[in-house]
Subunit: 168 residues, 2 copies
């Protein structure tokens, strides 16, 4: 009995990305009901040198995608960062969910000691699989998920922590 | 080879609470240099019906403390929610770190299927240990850590994501 690398990664990404998608739907409804331009949210940020909402959602997806691919020893799929609407951000989440669902659990199991290389040049980092997942990817993944949520709350979108946690 | 319940919990809490503590030190320096009253941060929130900074830090500590105790089958230590300064919040983090360090890894190992009861009355929830840790505690724990960070960034404290991730 123990936690497998698959259990600690893909189902967690699925829970949180599904909840992020549901939050985007609520955000669409909120904006439509008030005739607010989506750009007001897409370009919102909590401080001038922090990433805007669109980028936060893109990066949350990228940590799920990158981690799943690297743990499985696959090339990381490249998504263009060109989303310009909530619908397009939902499509990116859907693409991410489709990719991570396509990776067989068996290719991730046993990746605890796999060598993981991230970044390049001066920003290159090396990890073992378990360290990469628990101490690097999950903090970053949750950071961008929570910051996306925080930007929406700060802008008055009516969502709550239940929406953030989602269903599992 | 696999991830143990201990590895997926206590060392993660230690990383993130140590980084939160270091962030509080930077916040103290930031406020002192500018002669800003700590209350401006302690009572700051991102939206009127969200918790203020002090409460965010308290809850982050409580998820680490509660999870560690419950997985180990121990009574959850009760901390009064009476912190009124950054120094006192740092003391709460220190108390939390001392408690979770005092719990032997062996008492948490093997808790994947342990029955966990949280809350009471209508808010009572039941989990198995692994589900509780991966799908409930960690999302909540990271939520309050990130929201604490977001409140500081929103108020101009000069910290970055490296401070949030910390050392591991």
């Amino acid at each position: 009995m123990s936690i497998s690398m698959y259990q600690a990664s893909v189902p967690v990404f699925q829970q949180m990305l599904a909840s992020l998608d549901a939050i985007l739907v609520k955000t669409q409804c909120h904006l439509e009901a008030r005739k607010i331009d989506q750009q007001a949210i897409l370009q919102a940020r909590l401080f001038p040198d922090m990433f805007a909402f669109t980028r936060q959602v893109q990066i949350a997806c990228d940590f799920a995608k990158g981690c799943t691919a690297r743990l499985a020893g696959l090339e990381v799929p490249v998504f263009e960062d060109n989303e310009a609407s909530l619908e397009e951000l939902r499509a990116r989440i859907a693409k991410t969910l489709a990719f991570i669902a396509s990776v067989p659990a068996s290719s991730i199991e046993g990746s605890e000691e796999r060598d993981i290389h991230v970044g390049s040049g001066e920003r290159a980092r090396q990890f073992k699989g378990q360290q990469y997942l628990l101490h690097y990817v999950l903090p970053h993944f949750y950071f961008h998920n929570t910051t996306s949520y925080a930007i929406l709350r700060h802008n008055g979108v009516e969502i709550g922590k239940k929406d953030f946690i989602g269903n599992f």
